[in-house]
Structure formats: structure tokens, C-alpha cells
């Protein structure tokens, strides 16, 4: 723990710096089109987003707790909490969103070599390279370790052949962190490596997948003799599964954040009726003092109570991990519950909006109504991506509750 006085100084300095450096439009609620993902193909709809990113990146505050050596902010936990509080105070937008920050960076810092960190971390911090995740394959979903994409050493490079699926934003990404099979003769978990390579390399192609929501956030990705430098294999040959699992914990922690939407919707500053399920229910039912359908009212109350208890649990989990253990097995529980809550939220919004939530496009439906319909469909993936809810429950049963693992018996 740092001295209180020292932290108070940091707060004052941070407050002053943010006041001076956060552009006015970066203190307004985020709109989807202006989210900054960075990368070589980055576009800035709002030029102030670029200014904000550069100023924050110069201080390393896009990744406040990462080491200074690699371009991070070098802040202590306490200081980074103060930074986020001070950003919240002026409603500052996050300067940069990326899988590099939420997924790859933390494992690279834990398991990468000094050279790997020097090459990749600063570009993540500055948003110069946009990363995508090559995990699932057409035949390897929940049973991820059965993956088949092969990497064969040829000189100082690996030659990669195979295909990935559900690669988020692969068509917009610059580099990929990818699970590949480097040994087919050993048990499936023991022959996997974790490797990084450029998506512009010859032999890499991507194809967007159209989803039930009409959107295409995911791609199929094909590797036809694509080449990766052997020095970009992370964590050692055939040790990729340990890295993959660690990264999944970080990913689950990120996805569980979706469940917080239910309790955050009612905080000040929100503009849309859709942000609050109960307001939407009253508005579309024409109710004034309370929701006139007692069944819907009870369900919404239960949802709100669960959302509040979930938010408290996320907060408790942060307080408990303050000693720096990072995400642990409870991240599976938070991911699972958060996803289910988000799905419940959209089911309740659908009930609340009635037929106004059943439009696809065109006249008769407002943009935010169509958005509810599309997001309701999108939310169904929450309990599939990053490990299905069923897989999360398996993980809780085995790792947290210590129940015997039937699957491992079967596989032996």
C-alpha cells in the first residue's frame, strides 16, 4: 500500500492532467461508430479520438498497470484505480479497445521473452497493431484442444496450414495470436503451440460470416502455407495449451463485463429508454406509476436484483484479487453468470417492447428498436463464445468444487 498522501498527490495531478488533455467530445457517452480499435487500418470518425488516443498512449495510460519498460503506465493498482475513478468523474471515454490489451498483452507479459515483449507490447499500448484470436476451428469448438491447424518448422520459420473459425474481426486485424498443432504424436493437449504472425503474410485469407443478427463480426480464416517466425512462438514449443487457458481466463473476465450492463443502465447520463428495462416496459405498455403486468414486473425486479448482486460480486472479486493474483477460477463463474444476465436482459426487453421489438428494418420501427432486435439476436452468442456456458459449468465443477472429472476418465 502506498502512503495516502502520495496517492492524494497522484489524484490531484491526474485530475489536472485529464482536465487539460481530455478533448471535450471524449467526455460524452461513447457511440458505437467512434469506438477506437487501433491498427494499421484504423480510421477515426471523430478526429478527437485520435488526439485522445495519442495523449493517453504517450503516458502509457491505455494500459495503466503495464511496465514502463514496454511503454505501459507503470502505475500501482491503487494508482490505476484512482485513474479510472478520475476518468469516470469526467465521463472520459476509454481511449482504446483491443484484444491486444484485454487478452494477448497480459499473457505476453506473463510468459513472453524480453524480445517478444519489446517487439509487440509497445505497439499494443499505442494501438498501432490490431490483434485477432485464432482459436476455434470448424471441428474444434468446445473441444478446443482437438484443433488441427498444423505448424511445421522450416528453417527459422513455421509453415502453417489449416483454418480457423469465429475469428472476431479477422478482416480488420493486422496480426493474429494463434493455436497450432506442432506435435500430432502426443496426447492432444501436449502438442499445441501458441504463435504470433502477420495477417498480411502470403497465404492468409479471411471471409466474414453473416450471423442471425444480420451482422458479421466474425470470420473464417484460412492458412495456406502461411509463414511465421519461429521467434514468435510464445511460452515454448508444445506448451501452448497452458498459455491458451490463461488467455481464456482473461477473455472470460472481459466478457463477464457484459453482465454489468443491467445494473449500469440506470446510472445518470443515459439517454435511451432501452437502457433501463423497467422504463422500456412502462413506456411501451403505456404505464405511468408501475408496470401493469405483475408477472413482467416481478421478472424485471428479479433481473434487476440479480444484476445488482452480480455487480457487487464483480466488485468483491476485484477487492479480493487486489493482492495481484489476477483472474482465478471464479472468472468462469462471472463469465457464465454475466452472459446469462445479458441474455435475460434482452429477453425482457423483447417482452417489454412487444411487437416493436420484432421488426427487422424499414418503416414503423425506430433505430433503437431495431437495435434491440439485433442485439437480442447477438446476445445469444454470449453463452457460446469464449467457452460455452456448459463448458464454464464444467470448469466450476472441476476446478472450484473439486468434483470428479468424468471426461478425463472417458479420454483415457
Amino acid at each position: 500500500m502506498q502512503a495516502i498522501a502520495q496517492l492524494e498527490d497522484f489524484r490531484q495531478e491526474t485530475r489536472a492532467w485529464l482536465e487539460a488533455n481530455c478533448p471535450a467530445s471524449m467526455r460524452t457517452p461513447m457511440v458505437d461508430a467512434e469506438v477506437v480499435w487501433g491498427g494499421r487500418k484504423a480510421t477515426f470518425v471523430n478526429p478527437e479520438s485520435k488526439v485522445w488516443l495519442e495523449r493517453m498512449a504517450d503516458k502509457g495510460w491505455t494500459t495503466p498497470t503495464w511496465p514502463k519498460e514496454y511503454g505501459g503506465g507503470g502505475l500501482s493498482k491503487e494508482e490505476s484505480i484512482i485513474l479510472s475513478q478520475e476518468m469516470a468523474r469526467i465521463n472520459a471515454r476509454p481511449p482504446l479497445n483491443s484484444f491486444g490489451i484485454s487478452m494477448l498483452g497480459p499473457v505476453l507479459l506473463e510468459s513472453g521473452t524480453h524480445e517478444q515483449k519489446m517487439e509487440h507490447i509497445p505497439k499494443i499500448v499505442r494501438g498501432e497493431i490490431r490483434w485477432c484470436q485464432g482459436y476455434s476451428e470448424p471441428g474444434s469448438g468446445s473441444d478446443l484442444a482437438s484443433l488441427n491447424t498444423k505448424a511445421v518448422l522450416d528453417g527459422d520459420e513455421y509453415v502453417i496450414n489449416g483454418s480457423k473459425v469465429w475469428t472476431s474481426y479477422a478482416d480488420k486485424a493486422d496480426w493474429i495470436f494463434c493455436l497450432v498443432r506442432t506435435d500430432s504424436e502426443v496426447p492432444k493437449h501436449a502438442g499445441i503451440s501458441f504463435i504470433l504472425f502477420d495477417m498480411d503474410a502470403p497465404g492468409v485469407t479471411t471471409k466474414p460470416i453473416k450471423l442471425i443478427s444480420g451482422m458479421s463480426p466474425f470470420c473464417e480464416t484460412f492458412f495456406d502455407n502461411a509463414r511465421a517466425k519461429a521467434t514468435n512462438l510464445v511460452g515454448g514449443l508444445n506448451n501452448g495449451w497452458a498459455i491458451a487457458k490463461r488467455l481464456l481466463q482473461h477473455e472470460r473476465t472481459m466478457i463477464s463485463g457484459f453482465g454489468l450492463a443491467g445494473s449500469q443502465g440506470d446510472r445518470g447520463g443515459t439517454t435511451s429508454t432501452m437502457d433501463s428495462v423497467e422504463r422500456a416496459a412502462m413506456y411501451y405498455r403505456g404505464d405511468t406509476d408501475k408496470i401493469s403486468d405483475p408477472g413482467l414486473r416481478d421478472e424485471i425486479a428479479q433481473f434487476k436484483i440479480d444484476s445488482a448482486a452480480f455487480a457487487l460480486t464483480s466488485q468483491r472479486s476485484i477487492e479480493e484479487s487486489k493482492q495481484g493474483q489476477g483472474p482465478n477460477a471464479t472468472s468462469s463463474m462471472l463469465k457464465n453468470y454475466g452472459c446469462e444476465l445479458n441474455k435475460r436482459r434482452y429477453e425482457l426487453l423483447l417482452s417489454s417492447l412487444g411487437s416493436q421489438a420484432l421488426g427487422w428494418e424499414g418503416e414503423g420501427f425506430a433505430n433503437d428498436e431495431i437495435a434491440v432486435t439485433r442485439e437480442w439476436l447477438r446476445s445469444k452468442a454470449n453463452s457460446i463464445e469464449g467457452g460455452t456456458s456448459e463448458v464454464q459449468l464444467n470448469v466450476i465443477a472441476k476446478r472450484v468444487l473439486g468434483l470428479p472429472d468424468m471426461l478425463s476418465l472417458v479420454q483415457k
Binding site: K290, Q302, T313
Partner: protein, 382 residues
Amino acid sequence: MSLVLSEDQQLLKDSAKAFVDQNAPVSVLRGLRDSKDALGYDQNLWRQMLELGWAGMAIPEAYGGFEFGYGGLGVVLEESGRTLLSSPLIATVLLGASAINELGSETQKSELLPKVVSGELLLALAIDEKPHHRPNRIETSAVKAGDGYVLNGCKTFVLDGHIANKLVVVARTSGAIDDESGISLFLIDANTDGVSINRSWMVDSRNSAMLSLNDVKIGGDALLGAEGNAYPGLTRVLDIGRIGVAAEMLGSMQQAFDITLDYLKQREQFGVLIGSFQGLQHRAAEMYSEIELCKSAVRAALSALDDAEKTDAKIAELASIAKAKLSEVATLVSNEAVQMHGGIGMTDEYDIGFYMKRARVASAFLGDALFHRDRYASLNGF
């Protein structure tokens, strides 16, 4: 607001656990039930609990207490819930003493609270009149007569009613049956003429009573709080009670879950441990998640009670979150516990049934999940 226990609270929790494990296993409650014990709690155990200072945990030092806060009382209740310990902790300490502390005059507080700490005084709160908890629906009347009042009415589900020396009675001094205004609280000696108390034998083997008041004459000094205007204070007392009972329920549900988990790791069928079946694993994992949410809800509500900056409205909201969630999950966990035990879970010889019975009574006490969801919705304007 902190959601993790302080070092002092953790020490208290550990020592409470050690005490409860060693001295108050479920067999104590079973013994009280089987012998139809006249008191319904173990006096010797209660004396030891008094010596440990549990009765004075949340009472200010000025009135002989230890000012350790509701956070302290909460961890004691949680641990006592683990073995279904039956004691005056809830009726006397959590509800009765809080009523005096929140609504009482200086004289009432300095006279009565030290007696709670020492164990000389047992209390009971008489509020419910019908099978459902509806705190503003009060028919029991208190009519002014000279300097005092005359009370008439009936109360039910009065926890510890038959052992209390003094009753805290919720009565109406004016207004219509559902009005919040016109509600007053009175402190009545249990042996006053016209007070009749009948013990009810409850499914959870804990204490409860029916109370009837027939022309009970009391002095003006029996009034607790302002005449006709006690509802806001009463609401705070009820919220303290709801949060404390939620803490007790948290202990009980964790123990029921732990017992069940052990069983899943011991019982073999089809040549394997039944805990290896996915059909049971997923349900266990879901219960674990729900219990984690319960723990957060209880910690947040307890810590709000000890935070002077938290408004009554915020406490009301957290109390309803906690009691709604705990009541719902206590039902889930205790039902699943019996189901996962199979036939043995249906036997009286096995303890798990005690947990299911207690879960139902505690869920209904001071408002069940439906009551608190309705209240939460009203508090939030929908």
C-alpha cells in the same frame, strides 16, 4: 463500502465458527426438538454466547455494548446459521435491541440495552397479524386512555414470543388498516394482564408464538418512539432484521451446500462417484454461483448498516436485494440438497432435512422473495 471482511471481522468469524462447531452442532437443535424443550434454546449455550459478547455486538458503548457494528453481528449470525443454532440472537439482539436503539428514548436505551448485553432481558417483536408479512397492514389497536393506552388485537409468527420478558408490539393509534401513518410501537411486559402467549411449534423446531392482547392497559411510558409516527423507524428496524436473517441464511445455505458436495464426492452408483455426473455437476456449479451472489448481497447490506452516510432508502434497497436473493437461493439450495441426497435426504436421521425446514421459515420471516421483489420494484419507481 467494503465487500471483504476486515481483519477484526475475520478473526471474530473464525472464533465464532470454532465455538459453534465445538459447542452447537445440529444435534443440539435435534435434542431440543426431541425433548420438546420448554424454552426452545439451550440456556447454557446462550450464557456462553453472552460471555463472548455476542449480545452486545451492535449496541453502542454508551449503553454497555461493544460497538462492533452490524458487520460483526452479521458474521456471528452467519456462523450460527451453519449449524442452525437456536438462540435469542435474532429476536432479542437483532430485532428487539435494534428497535430500542433506533426508536427508544434516552431513558429506555440506558435502562434496557445494558440488560440485553448482560442477558437479563429477552425481547420479541410482534408485528405480523396474518399469514403474510405486510408491515403496514396493522389492525391491532392502541386507544389512548388517560395517560396510557389500551391495546387489543392478535399477532402471529412472534419469534421467541413465549420466552421474552418484554414484547415490542406494533399497533395502530390512528388511521386505516393499510396506512403507514398512525402506527406506533409499544414495549409491554410479557406478564401484563390481558396478554396471552401461546407457543407455536414450527417446522424448523425454532421458537415462535401467537399473541393475543385483550384490553391490555399500559402506561404512556410504554410508547417506543413517536405516537403514530413509528413507521420509518420500524422500517429501519425491519431492514436490520432482514439483513441479519439473510446473514444467518447465508451460513445455513453454505453449510447445506458443503454437506451436499461432500455427499457427491462419497456416494457411488453405477461404479462411479455420483459427483462425476454432468447432470449433477452443472446444478452444483449453478448453486455455487448463486451462493457467491448471495454472499456479496449480504456483505454489501451489512456494511451499509455500519456506514453512517448510507440513507434509509439505500439501506431499504440493499435489504430487499439481500432478502429477496437469499430467500430465493435458500429454497433452491435446500431443495437440491435433499434431491441430490436421494432417499437418505428424506430421513429424519440425516441432518439435511433440518436445513430445508429452516430455509422455508427464514425465507418467509420478515418478507419472502416475492414480497421483497415487489418492494424493490416500488422503491425503484416501477
